[in-house]
């Protein structure tokens, strides 16, 4: 398996263009990339195109030598695991069952001991073991989001796409969920992309940043490179200052302009 590359992606809803010639250089296996950009810049749409849920009007997505468009929808979703943006689901399904459903890839009623152990481990490691028998309708927003992440991580894939996995989480859980994602991507040698609004989290966890603005990729590179671009402040419509943090990291300060 090798890296993920997108080139010249175009997509429009009717005559409203969402993605315009969007593409990124090869994202290497084992690395985590943060997809950043303001609201409605096309992050979710780009994810959907990569996952094969939306058909672009132009452009290709390659995983190694494979053009993903040549795969069936089913094959493609085995290679690309996509966690959609968070919406609370109001269903009488237990946390264990919804993670099991992802583990089983929706195939076959029979659940083996191995399946059960895998789901048990996943819940325990995600720190949501105590929620196992709860219905997802009873969970708080943050808890549901952690279940969604567990649901994605239990699947074996070459590419993991997370659309704002931390938007409903408190500080502690933002860090722990992103660590889980980063570790999984490293251990599995998979390509990981996370859409994030918090630039500090992006700087902390990502190996690479990709900046989207109005459907175009404005910049891509290391966090230091992208965060220091003057265009970043312009993209978000704020004043931005970057200072070195206390642990050899970067801290992003944003002020209303």
């Amino acid at each position: 398996m090798s890296g993920l590359k997108a080139s010249g992606i175009h997509f429009a809803y009717g005559d409203r263009p969402i993605l315009r010639d969007a593409g990124f250089d090869v994202l290497e296996p084992g690395q985590l990339t943060a997809l950043i950009g303001p609201n409605a810049s096309g992050k979710s749409t780009l994810f959907r195109v990569i996952a094969g849920l939306l058909k672009p009007t132009g452009g290709q997505v390659h995983l190694g030598a494979i053009d993903l468009a040549t795969l069936s929808a089913r094959e493609r979703l085995k290679k690309v695991c996509f966690m959609p943006q968070f919406f609370a689901a109001n269903a009488a399904l237990t946390v264990f069952d919804v993670v099991m459903m992802a583990r089983k890839n929706l195939q076959g009623w029979r659940v083996t001991s191995e399946d059960m152990d895998a789901v048990g481990h996943a819940l325990h490691e995600a720190g949501i073991g105590h929620l196992s028998p709860a219905y997802i309708s009873e969970l708080s927003g943050g808890q549901s989001q952690m279940v969604s992440v567990a649901q994605a991580l239990i699947r074996t894939s070459d590419v993991y796409l997370f659309d704002e996995p931390t938007s409903a989480l408190d500080l502690h859980h933002q860090l722990s969920v992103l660590s889980q994602i980063k570790n999984a991507v490293q251990q599995r040698g998979a390509v990981g992309i996370v859409a994030l609004h918090d630039l500090n989290l992006a700087a902390r966890f990502a190996d690479k940043l990709v900046l989207l603005r109005q459907g175009e990729i404005l910049a891509q590179g290391t966090p230091a490179d992208v965060l220091h671009l003057p265009a970043l402040a312009d993209t978000y419509g704020v004043d931005i200052e970057i200072t070195p943090g206390p642990r050899k990291d970067l801290v992003v300060h944003a002020y209303a302009s």
Partner: protein, 357 residues
Amino acid sequence: MTVSPHDAEAVQGIVGDYRRRSAKRVLLVIAAALALFATVVIDIMTGPADLTFFRVVHVIFDPSVASPKEEVIIWDLRMPVALMAVVVGAMLGVAGAEMQTILNNPLADPFTLGLSSAASFGAAVAIVLGLSLIPGVGALFVTVNAFIFAMLAAMALFVFTRFRGVTPEAMILVGIAMLFTFNALLAFLQYGATELQLAQLIFWQLGSLSRATWAKVGICFVVLIIVLPYFVSRSWALTALRMGEDKAAALGVNVTLLRLTVLAGVSLLSAVAVSFVGAIAFVGLVGPHIARMIVGEDQRGFLPLSALAGALILSGTSIASKAITPGIVYPIGMITSLIGIPFFLSLILSQRKRYWQ
């Protein structure tokens, strides 16, 4: 990855807990099936003839012990009615469960989508106008008309959703539009009907099992056996749909295709059920709700228990319709609502969890 003993213990706790819940779910399904057998036996023994529970069970398992009188009463007269209640109840329970699932709406059932009123209108065309849509079906023409109209309504729903997009909102709105359309057409026919026709029509609409025959039971059973395996094969996809379209799609579910094919199956089930026994409210709505309250919405428990709950409700209704006033068989459509609703309300009030908001 190293696993500390403490972690392993925690994981075993989670898994053990799940095993217990799965075992409980299986036991609940078995218990419901046994209860259903009991209600069928009680249904058969209810009525004049002084049959006992064990005598009926004996005759069911060993038909040769029956006296000629028992044979006629049990096998020819009451068994078709009792089994019709079971099969139609199961059909309506399954249809309601999957309609609620694909439409993401707890109020969905064959009534909401206008299928029942379409069937009633079809029956009215037969009763009032004496018009048979398919010539040569003889005495079955009321049933056949009802079926054809229910299927036409389902197809109209199908076509509309193809134009308007297969969203739950569009499907429900079109369903409700059809409900009112057919009710208006029905009123139109009723207005011009004679008293005798009106009485016949009302009797049909109230729902009745008394016209059950072995042949009708057989047809219903075959339809159920055709549709059910498809629903079973799509059960994970249907479960996934309850987490939202987005999540289901991300897991590889073709949501549009799933909605359309399940709608086709559900339409067939309700059209056949309604055309044979008349418009029976409540079973398709409440059967799935009872199942949901007991086992949740994982289709592995939800689907079988919705079928069993529907069958139990209708079988129980069949008993009540004969037992309330000896010698009189009340229309079941009336009984399902009168007895079922207080029971249903008490279930809702006793629940702590909220499934729909």
